[in-house]
C-alpha cells in the first residue's frame, strides 16, 4: 500500500510538468510575482519534486527497493 502510494506521490510533479502547456493560467503572457508564469510553475514543481520524493521517503518505499528483489 505504502509502495503504491509512494509511486503515486512521486508521479504528481511529472503530471504537473507535462500539463504545463495545457493549463491556460500557466501558459499565459501574464506575470506571476514579476516573472513569467511558466518559469514560476517550473521552479515550483522542481521544488515540488523534492517535496514529493521526501514524502515518498517518509512512506518508507525505499525499504522495499533497497532489498533489490524487484525493479
Amino acid at each position: 500500500m505504502n509502495r503504491a502510494l509512494g509511486y503515486a506521490v512521486a508521479a504528481v510533479p511529472a503530471v504537473a510538468f507535462f500539463a504545463t502547456p495545457f493549463l491556460p493560467f500557466v501558459d499565459t503572457t501574464r506575470l506571476w510575482f514579476g516573472l513569467p508564469a511558466v518559469l514560476v510553475w517550473g521552479v515550483v514543481w522542481t521544488l515540488g519534486t523534492t517535496a514529493a520524493l521526501a514524502v515518498t521517503e517518509r512512506l518508507g518505499t525505499h525499504r522495499d527497493e533497497q532489498e533489490g528483489t524487484t525493479a
Binding site: 509511486y7 512521486a10 508521479a11 510533479p13 511529472a14 510538468f17 507535462f18 504545463t20 502547456p21 495545457f22 501558459d27 499565459t28 503572457t29 506575470l31 514579476g34 516573472l35 513569467p36 508564469a37 511558466v38 518559469l39 510553475w41 517550473g42 521552479v43 514543481w45 522542481t46 521544488l47 519534486t49 523534492t50 514529493a52 520524493l53 521526501a54 515518498t56 521517503e57 518505499t61 525505499h62 527497493e65 533497497q66 533489490g68 528483489t69 524487484t70 525493479a71
Partner: protein, 483 residues
C-alpha cells in the same frame, strides 16, 4: 594577455590541480576498478557533488540562456527534464548500485553483459556508448572555447584555452580517476553557483527598470517569449523534449553517469541525494533569466549561445567576468572528465580481449583517454561541425537503451539478449533514418518515435525466440495426485 584571460587560465589550472590532488597511493592507482568507481566507498556528500557536477555542463551555461534568448519559456523544459529524470532514478538507483556491487560492474556495458549473459550485447552497448559520447565530449571542449572567446574577446586565446583545458582535464583524470573528478566537482559547483548568483544580481541591474522592469519589458516588446505557443517551440516540442531527455537520465542510459552511481557507498546514499538534487537544479532558472535579459537588450541577430557571457561582459568588470569564465570552464572540464572516463572504461574494460592483464588494461585505458580527448580537441579546433550531426543522435540514440535497461533490472531477466540487441539496433537505425533521411516529424522528437519500433521489435523477437515451457513430467507429479 588581459586580466580576464589570466584569471580564466589560472582558474583552469587550479581546478586541474585540485583534481590531481585526488590521486591515491601507488598500489591502488594501478587498479582500473578503483580508478573508475573509487572502491565503491564514496560518501553521500561526495556522491552528491559528483552527480550534481555532471548535470551542469557548458550547455547549462550557454545553451539554456541561448534557448531563453531565442525561445523564451521553452527553456523551462530543462527544469522539467532534470527533475523528472531524478524520479525514476530515486526508485531504480539502489537496484543499479546493488547489481553493480554484487557483480563488480565498472561500466554500463557490464550491466548488459551480466544481466543478459551476453558479451556480444555488452560489446555493442560499449560501442554505441563510446561513439555517441565522443561528440558530447567535443561539445564541451568547443563550448569552453566559446566561453573563453566571449569572456576575453580573443580567438587565439580561446584556442589556447581549449588545448590547455583538454590537456589539464586528461592529466587529472589519468592521475586521479573518479576521485579527481569528485574533487574538481566540489570547486566547480561552488564556483558555478556563486557565478550564477552574481549574474542574477548584476545583469538585471543593467536593464532599464531593474529586475522588475525586465519581464514587464518582455511582456510589452516580446510577449511571444512568455508562452509555449511559438513556431517549432510549442506544446508538442515541450512535452517531447522533456520526455526523451527524462527517459535518458531517468533510466540511466548515459554511460558516463554510471561511474558516479557505482562509486557510491550505498544505494541509500544515492537515494537520499535524489530527494534533494532538484533543489540544486533550481539554479538553472538563472541562465534562463539572463537569456530573457539578453532578449530585451541585445540585437536580435546575436548568436543565442553568446547571450549569457555577452550580458556578463556588459554588467561586470573584467576580473569578475574572468571568475564567471572559470566557473563556466569548470562546467566544461568536470563533465568532460566524466565523459572521457566513460569512453575509456567502455573501450578498455568491455572491448579489449578478456585475457589482458590488469596493468596492460589500465595502460590501454589511459591511452584511450589520451586518444579520445585528443580526437575531440582536434575535431573541435579543425572541423567543429563534423560531429555535430552525430550529436543530434546522442540523446535519442542512448535513450534506445532504456527498454532493455528496464528489462535487465528484473530479479529474473526474461528478455533474451537477441531481442534486446535487435530492439536497440532497430531503434538506433530508425533514429538515424528519421534524423538524416529528411523525414518531417514537425516538433515531435525523433528519439521518441524511434522508441516505438524499438519496443515493438524487442517484444516481437521476444515472443518468437523465447524457449517453449517444458512439458510437465508425469513422473515428477506429487504422489498425492496419483490414484
Amino acid at each position: 594577455m588581459n586580466s580576464t584571460m589570466v584569471i580564466a587560465l589560472a582558474g583552469m589550472l587550479g581546478l586541474a590541480l585540485l583534481g590531481a590532488s585526488g590521486r591515491r597511493a601507488r598500489a591502488r592507482a594501478h587498479d582500473l576498478g578503483d580508478w573508475t568507481v573509487g572502491g565503491r566507498s564514496f560518501s553521500t556528500l561526495t556522491s552528491w557533488f559528483l552527480q550534481a557536477g555532471e548535470f551542469f555542463t557548458t550547455f547549462s551555461f550557454l545553451g539554456f540562456a541561448g534557448l531563453a534568448f531565442s525561445g523564451g519559456v521553452a527553456a523551462v523544459y530543462a527544469l522539467g527534464y532534470l527533475a523528472l529524470g531524478l524520479i525514476p532514478m530515486y526508485f531504480l538507483a539502489p537496484r543499479f548500485w546493488k547489481l553493480g556491487r554484487d557483480h563488480g560492474y565498472v561500466t554500463q556495458a557490464d550491466f548488459f553483459t551480466e544481466r543478459f549473459r551476453s558479451p556480444l550485447l555488452g560489446k555493442v552497448v560499449a560501442v554505441v556508448g563510446a561513439v555517441f559520447l565522443l561528440p558530447y565530449l567535443q561539445l564541451q571542449i568547443t563550448g569552453l572555447g566559446v566561453i573563453v572567446q566571449l569572456a576575453t574577446g580573443s580567438h587565439s586565446g580561446a584556442q589556447l584555452s581549449m588545448v590547455l583545458a583538454t590537456a589539464l582535464t586528461a592529466a587529472f583524470v589519468l592521475l586521479a580517476g573518479i576521485r579527481g573528478i569528485a574533487r574538481a566537482a566540489y570547486a566547480k559547483d561552488v564556483l558555478m553557483v556563486g557565478a550564477l548568483v552574481l549574474l542574477l544580481v548584476a545583469v538585471p541591474l543593467g536593464v532599464s527598470g531593474g529586475f522588475g522592469g525586465l519581464f514587464s519589458g518582455i511582456q510589452h516588446t516580446r510577449p511571444e517569449l512568455l508562452t509555449l505557443r511559438q513556431d517549432g517551440l510549442d506544446a508538442t516540442w515541450f512535452c517531447c523534449a522533456m520526455l526523451i531527455s527524462s527517459i535518458g537520465t531517468g533510466f540511466n542510459t548515459m554511460p558516463h553517469l554510471w561511474p558516479a552511481l557505482l562509486s557510491a557507498r550505498s544505494g541509500r546514499a544515492l537515494q537520499k541525494n535524489y530527494v534533494w538534487l532538484p533543489l540544486y537544479q533550481i539554479a538553472l532558472a538563472i541562465p534562463i533569466v539572463i537569456g530573457f535579459a539578453g532578449a530585451l537588450v541585445l540585437p536580435r541577430g546575436t548568436a543565442p549561445n553568446d547571450a549569457l557571457l555577452t550580458m556578463a561582459g556588459h554588467a561586470l568588470p573584467g576580473w569578475l567576468v574572468g571568475v564567471v569564465a572559470v566557473a563556466a570552464a569548470g562546467a566544461a572540464m568536470v563533465p568532460s572528465a566524466a565523459i572521457v572516463m566513460g569512453i575509456s572504461s567502455l573501450v578498455s574494460h568491455n572491448l579489449l580481449p578478456r585475457g589482458l592483464g590488469g596493468r596492460a588494461r589500465l595502460r590501454a585505458n589511459h591511452a584511450t583517454v589520451l586518444v579520445a580527448a585528443g580526437l575531440a580537441l582536434l575535431l573541435g579546433l579543425t572541423r567543429p561541425d563534423l560531429l555535430a550531426n552525430l550529436l543530434l543522435l546522442t540523446f535519442g540514440g542512448l535513450a534506445q537503451l532504456a527498454p532493455a535497461t528496464l528489462a535487465g533490472l528484473r530479479a529474473e531477466v526474461r528478455l533474451g539478449a537477441a531481442p534486446a540487441l535487435l530492439g536497440i539496433v532497430t531503434g538506433v537505425a530508425v533514429l538515424g533514418w528519421l534524423t538524416f533521411g529528411g523525414v518531417d516529424l514537425g516538433s515531435v522528437d525523433a528519439g521518441l518515435v524511434a522508441l516505438v519500433p524499438n519496443i515493438a521489435v524487442t517484444w516481437a523477437a521476444h515472443l518468437l525466440l523465447r524457449q517453449p515451457a517444458p512439458l510437465p513430467d508425469p513422473a515428477a507429479e506429487p504422489a498425492t495426485s496419483r490414484p
